[in-house]
Assembly symmetry: C2
Homo-oligomer: 332 residues x 2
């Protein structure tokens, strides 16, 4: 049987028991030109929360009754498609389900011998691509820049900071709790970390970036974005990648009160969506694969088990109870 | 005697009677290498409000006891400087006073035969330069763009919109009251105008920009910035030139709640300071002078008389009771 998670109701605030339904149905059969994919891992990302809102965005919202959208990786177990063979490992937009049939649209083959499957939905998947293009193309880092990144122990932030280190920047991360901060500095090699859950963030930021910051990569929004704005230097770039602190708001989003710092410092605040860079994902994967092989880019996945545990696991994105890329194993 | 306006106290909210002192002193005498300038007109600009705050900004704040900083234009009436002759007309940073001695720093000669003096502190001065570089270099307009500009009847906004029209854009202005809106469309040739003091701005913006906007030139901040964010198109540029709605706040500045529209639409919000473009002011003045001669760029000044009336006149910037560039005549 095939287990699926479908959107039942648009959540207000944090998703709860009523948000999704858990359904069981027969495993579908591929028709001519299709294949059957057995999904192994599902990617859990903050952006999924946005896809549940009935609002104009960069992609249409998930519809009520639809399988919850998610990145995934799995293995072809039956094929009537000339280009996909049994045993092929595919990454793409498989949604939160164990099996699916597809014509291949939205999927691409990966070499499961080169990296573990979860890495293909993490550092070599959308989060890694977001980090790569966000910090290089939007953040436009150059050697010697001071880079601040929030969500620094997370799937995107951890890669952002490591790429910035590779490119010769000074990198300060913001993360929640001493364990994550230690991970960021000791394992990932950031120059400093600020624990937003403890201590005086403003004072620590001043101490760690006495001359200010050139690039702020924002995954969180809210007060941390406002704090970063107080420390930007002339011609600073702020990359707006996400705003996890605001996604479950039941009140209006908190806009950055200090945005006039952009005027004073001639700063730029720019939004990004990773799909825009799809034509260059190959180059990025090659660069990041090389850095991983050289030990310069570390990847950490926090893997939970069981599609039945989707909601509880998804919630960890917002409570912060996870380390690195959050992944759900859905195969049995 | 020389009449001067000096900063007496840092205002909280709107400046009042206690903010400045009016002083009278002897007209100073130039020493070797200096000249005596008789000032004719003082430029009144929203940015002056920011210069009064004791905050890190793009220039140091005006100090208590100092002559209030302002752009100005005047005539050399005595000179011991080899490069400045009696009768030369100079524009620069003369402050709110009738006479001053200077070594020439911060002043440059203008040809008073080519344009009336007030135009040199308006369309051919800082406000015009702000408009020119803001819309061309930061806004990066191209033919066919839909451009929205707030403060559309003002010194900067009126020039922004006219330049955008010259460059083949569709231009919508936001201004306060029917008279200003009529001026913006009928005299300046904008394609549409929205009266923020009357009617449903959101509905009107949708009607006038059904396909959204490519560039928003922001002089006002607050709710209008937030509204503009709801209508930006893919790859839109927002030029942060000022935030007149927020300058006299006694509460924290209202940040743009809708800033995540930058993410969805891959938009850029960038701050600017006109002084950065000083090396290219000559080229801009040539372009704008040509457009004025061709009748494509109209300039309107609202001139009040008497340095004694500085505060009342300055207040008009924030109440909106003026049409075009606000200027104070200070010579007697």
């Amino acid at each position: 049987m095939n287990k699926q998670i479908k959107l039942a109701k648009r959540p207000v605030g944090m998703p709860d028991e009523s948000t999704w339904t858990f359904e069981t149905s027969a495993i579908p059969s591929p028709k001519e030109g299709e294949f059957l994919l057995k999904q192994e891992y599902i990617s859990l990302d903050p952006a999924m929360r946005g896809w549940m809102n009935d609002a104009k965005s960069y992609i249409p919202p998930v519809q009520i009754g639809e399988v919850m959208r998610a990145g995934s990786i799995g293995t072809v177990i039956e094929s009537k498609h000339p280009e996909f063979k049994v045993g092929d490992v595919l990454s793409g937009w498989g949604g939160v389900q164990q099996y699916l049939v597809s014509t291949g649209q939205g999927f691409f083959k990966v070499d499961a011998n080169l990296a573990p499957m979860p890495v293909y939905i993490g550092t070599l998947g959308m989060p890694g691509m977001t980090a790569y293009f966000g910090i290089l193309e939007v953040g436009k880092i150059k050697e010697g820049d001071v880079v601040l990144v929030s969500g620094a122990a997370g799937a995107v932030g951890s890669v952002v900071g490591q790429i910035a280190k590779i490119k010769g920047c000074t990198v300060i991360g913001i993360a929640g709790g001493p364990e994550k901060c230690k991970y960021v500095t000791e394992t990932l090699g950031f120059d400093g970390a600020i624990d937003y859950k403890n201590g005086d963030m403003k004072k620590e930021l001043r101490a760690l970036c006495p001359k200010g910051i050139d690039v702020y990569f924002d995954n969180v929004g809210g007060e941390i974005l406002d704090l970063a704005l107080t420390r930007i230097r002339r011609d600073a770039r702020i990359v707006i990648c996400g705003a996890i602190s605001q996604y479950n708001n039941t009140t209006p989003i908190k806009g950055p009160s200090n945005y006039l710092s952009l005027l004073v410092n001639r700063g730029t605040m720019q939004g990004m969506v990773v799909m825009d860079y799809a034509p260059n994902f190959g180059k990025a994967a090659m660069d990041m694969g090389t850095w991983m092989a050289q030990g310069k880019l570390k990847s950490r996945e926090d893997i939970y088990d069981g599609i039945e545990n989707f909601r509880e696991t998804f919630t960890r994105l917002f409570t912060g109870e996870k380390m690195g890329k959050l992944v759900l194993k859905v195969s049995e």
